[in-house]
Symmetry: C2
Subunit: 325 residues, 2 copies
């Protein structure tokens, strides 16, 4: 009997979850739920119903875990607590400062409904967070560094697209090689925002747009670009399509710690061809864990820190010990 | 109130545990136990009693967790099940083929005594095993590669020391760069034993020893060297002391997987100045987890796969979410 997954929200992430479900022998897609008109949605799983998100509200949909693929700004703070009372849920909430509030809200409603809501699942927060925790627990005398990229930041790309005269844009976050090197050598440098990452932008301008003005607006944009060394390239629509249509990402968590006089460097790194597909795969592994833990009677809000690794794998504990330990 | 740790066995690993205890605010060293004459042992912790291992047998020593620092060949298969009935225990058992039997033996006696016995803790098995599990759970369609080194293999160094005419020896295990590169690029190569690692040996010969014979004996030694490209350097005793007195080690677990047509490469790597000190630090983090879980009523044998990461850290769940998620 396989675990029945529901997907709420069918954007890039929802599609990534759908792909991951297909690769997992013990889970199946039971339904896709959308706030758009269900008739307008073409999904990639034959025979799976596409329904209005409203259908979820009676709590009677036949799904074991609902994976909520919404945005952290406005969708998830409302959706995850709402559905955690009715279903086991997984989300990828990544607005760091608001995690405590979100956790409490999900905890209350999940406990009320006897369900589990696991929040902030993905690679950062998610797999990167795990690396920071394991490393700092083992070596309390140390320091962690997180570098992102090379990869496409969708938030930064969107910010450029909102500038007047911009038709399309893609922004790559790139770690500064010399800083990476110093951290890997265990030098524990103090690094400013500018020291850690570069921002490289590819922009398709509208006909007749003032490119110098666009470039200046990008480079001086507060929060997004002004604290970084930023380069801007204007390219054609065809070049954008040919060279920049993927959503690769990745990065490294590097922890440099000591035992007495001896130094130790721990690095966890990801090179991902598709950010949303990898994130979707992490969400499905945690959906498996949530399903199992809830059957054992566990309820409430959780994060990746609370889940014993064995719950993530479809393999038995005996097999895991024999094959992976 | 801090967690009281006992150390059984005061070799390199026991000393590493002692150092890790000093760096952890919430644990303290309550006693060192030895099969040697306790009077002959000078430890590095003032005021901590050194006692005969026999003292442990009545089960009345005032320790919360006993960390057993013995060898996997003959010590741990006997010691861990024996003491798991009397105390919560942690070991670093690493004879892979015998893990299922060892697990069962520890499970029986730990359950009988209402204790927890966690086995095979360290970096491989241990942190490397976790990387293999997390990666394969997230990307079921993939393959893992483990490379060790560059680092000192104590087992291989000992094997050389047993050859006639050898006064001292140090063996470095070195990953083959071209293979590492192919794996990191996601090429999923088929690699033989020889393709993955080189073995470099530094040997101090006794006066008048037949060096050609020693070199030949090393290079043709079954299991240890014959399946590898091995180089042998004869050096002086002073050079050995000056250049090869440390016990550095490390390595990488690289997992290369797919979602549909997209490739993803996950790498976890360690560069350790001191293998026994890092291993000791991992043992102490898991001792903390074992103590907490046993207080919650959990008993029986466990591995790193069974422990939720939050149990390893001295920080509260609230702090972990705020600082590391």
């Amino acid at each position: 009997m396989s675990i029945k997954i529901g997907i709420l929200g069918y954007g890039n992430l929802g599609k990534g979850v759908e792909k991951a479900v297909k690769q997992s022998p013990d889970v199946e897609l039971a339904g896709v739920y959308t706030r758009r008109n269900p008739a307008d949605l073409k999904i990639d799983s034959e025979g799976v119903p596409v329904q209005s998100a409203k259908k979820l509200e009676n709590g009677r949909e036949d799904i074991d875990v609902l994976i909520i693929c919404g945005g952290s700004a406005t969708d998830l703070p409302e959706m995850t607590p709402k559905y955690a009372e009715l279903y086991n849920v997984v989300d990828s909430f990544d607005t760091h400062a608001n995690i405590p509030v979100h956790f409490d809200n999900v905890d209350k409603s999940a406990k009320k409904g006897g369900k589990i809501g696991i929040i902030s699942v993905g690679w950062d927060p998610g797999m990167f967070s795990l690396s920071r925790l394991y490393a700092s627990a083992v070596l309390p005398d140390g320091k962690d560094y997180t570098f992102w990229g090379k990869g496409v930041s969708q938030g930064h790309s969107d910010a450029i697209r909102r500038i007047e005269g911009v038709k399309d844009a893609r922004q790559y976050t790139i770690p500064v090689e010399s800083s990476l090197k110093a951290v890997r050598e265990g030098k524990n440098p103090e690094l400013s925002t500018r020291d850690k990452h570069l921002r490289e932008c590819f922009v398709v301008a509208q006909d007749g747009a003032d490119k110098a003005k666009i470039e200046n607006e990008i480079k001086t944009m507060p929060n997004y670009f002004s604290d970084y060394d930023t380069t801007v390239h204007f390219i054609s629509e065809q070049e954008m399509k040919k060279d920049h249509s993927g959503l690769p990402h990745g990065g490294s968590v590097i922890y440099s710690g000591k035992t007495g006089d001896n130094k130790h460097v721990i690095e966890y790194s990801l090179k991902l061809d598709s950010n949303p597909e990898f994130t979707g795969a992490v969400l499905v592994a945690y959906a498996r864990a949530v399903y199992r833990l809830n059957r054992e009677g566990v309820t409430g809000a959780k994060t990746v820190f609370d889940i014993a690794p064995a719950y993530l794998s479809p393999k038995s504990s005996e097999k895991l010990r024999a094959q992976l330990l």
